[in-house]
Symmetry: C2
Subunit: 371 residues, 2 copies
Amino acid sequence: SNSYRLLILPGDGIGPEVMAEVRRVAEWFRDRRALPIDLRQRHFGLASWQAHGSLMPDETWAEIEAADAILFGAMDSLDQAIRIPPSERRKGSLLRLRKNLDTFANLRPIRAVPGLLDASTLKREVVDGVDLVFVRELTGGVYFGEPRGVETLSDGRERGVNTHVYTSDEVERVARFAFELARRRRADGKPGRVHSVDKSNVMEAGAMWRRIVQRVHDADYADIELHHMLADNCAMQLIRWPRQFDVIVTDNLFGDLLSDCGAMITGSLGMLPSASLSARGGASNRRRALYEPIHGSAPDIAGRGIANPLAAILSFGMCLRETMEMADEADRLERAVDAVLAAGARTADLAAPGKPHLSTAAMGDAVLDAL
Amino acid sequence: SNSYRLLILPGDGIGPEVMAEVRRVAEWFRDRRALPIDLRQRHFGLASWQAHGSLMPDETWAEIEAADAILFGAMDSLDQAIRIPPSERRKGSLLRLRKNLDTFANLRPIRAVPGLLDASTLKREVVDGVDLVFVRELTGGVYFGEPRGVETLSDGRERGVNTHVYTSDEVERVARFAFELARRRRADGKPGRVHSVDKSNVMEAGAMWRRIVQRVHDADYADIELHHMLADNCAMQLIRWPRQFDVIVTDNLFGDLLSDCGAMITGSLGMLPSASLSARGGASNRRRALYEPIHGSAPDIAGRGIANPLAAILSFGMCLRETMEMADEADRLERAVDAVLAAGARTADLAAPGKPHLSTAAMGDAVLDAL
Ligand SMILES: CC(C)[C@H](C(=O)O)[C@@H](O)C(=O)O
Ligand SMILES: CC(C)[C@H](C(=O)O)[C@@H](O)C(=O)O
């Protein structure tokens, strides 16, 4: 068939609540805009453990393999779930999903929303106009490097090791991805600027990263402004003057910390989508993709119907743009979200203290109305 | 002799300018308060390269070895100084200094200064009352781990590697340091709280870190509140709600990024001191120490006499407290700095745009007057 097979994995915590709204929005695009969407859904994580005695049953994995995109809700940290054996944890982990789908490019856009400038702990004039995107390398670095583990030395001390490792082709493909993205964004009137972030003053692998990004730039992307920045300085600059950034490309671990730093710029964690993409390949030349709100499972508010579904809905918007390559439909959804916020609709996380707020489902209704 | 031998290494950039003021302040304590201070001074870094053809001549190293404390200015990144051979760079590097002095505990206090609450990009109500200190492990982790380097694979690709490694005794000593510090700070009316920061959900060495910190706590510091926090979450929380922190203990690399994040809380980088301390040891049971403003060499403003000397002066204050164990004299110096700021004295970095400001030397004068 010519339809896009989208697999919803609601997961744990507030995942099921926000993904119910994503489902309604996706159905709207399927039924009202006649988009070729084949929607499926499976348990994942703790919910799957409870239903099937496995975090990731083989059938679920087969569905994941067959999907054009995964719409992921949230996964519990499993800290409390002590009964789950480690081997089962690894089988069902987000890291396995990323590695097996080879989604090496994790996109995290951070955009100031005019109606929400006061939600941040940063001053309004610092937040206003921010429009940046992280490209975090997602399948390499210290997350997957070997050797790793803890050994006991002959004198009784323990020694814990993890290995940060990148090969030149891994750096090159994520650098190309970032430069291509910067070109695409330039069409919206942006200058086309990439900041590549490393710790090349301390790490040899960081010096290699810097050298390769520069080489890719000079060979094929000389039209894009390239700046190199040390990771510690980048952590500062994100707080000091975030408007200086357009595209930020960095490794898996720095990307984890810096994008969470960046997530605080707008102060509305409940608004931030993400996409994790592989290279194109295979017979159909398709790109594997996983779309996910960055807020996580939020166990403290799970089950109360008050979570903000907009990050998950905007993640579906990224799916329209990246997997289905329907930029007009993605714009349509983003405009609907902007309109809803401009009209004053707020979930609890966005509402001023003491002000009335919408439930998760009512916010979903509002988006559907605006569509 | 019974005097404290203090070695000033002004270094590069704004180092010489700010350390000239430190020198005057140290002389004041020696001459007016009759403190037993033996002050010395040496070139270091680029300045030493220009004067002696070596970043670190052997005599300088001998002076460093013999000193009770190093008062360090700033070191140039050497990015531009391409004529210096790599072996010479390693010899003269800050990392070598840290490793050879075994200064494993890097203290970086971040305190909101009442007169400067508006200097931050964070809102006034978020900054007000912040009083936290980072204890960054400084002699282990990915900064020093082996194997490291870049190799060319048989297929022509390159492979860059750095190794994150900690032994249990390294984690234990920095954890003890943090708990002791939390106890000492509790005396000022603080609750006595330590946040230990790791990435234990991804790194086995991080899980070991967490386990050992917990063990040290349970055995000897059960009176202190201990919280474990993931590094990405900590980057967020520093921006979202910094007042929740008292002592933050973490590894070398996370400490590098997070303390720079933290440095932006108050918005006055020119105000932030640091101390790097070893364990007590040797015949005299002394603690090696290096005191250093965290602002770095700031080449863009070097030589203009406008740098803020307060971070360097407050670093000398930390020397009075930690090396000389003269808390009253340290308090005296900190009160003088507070008084100068309360009276409205501002260097260029602190002054409102268009407002008049003091030179480096005039700020030094103001502190001496207040003393
Ligand atoms: C849950 C955790 C393994 C994950 C990561 O560290 O990558 C998360 O923090 C993220 O950023 O998606
Ligand atoms: C200059 C550099 C090696 C150093 C570090 O990474 O430790 C600096 O950033 C610091 O924090 O003192």
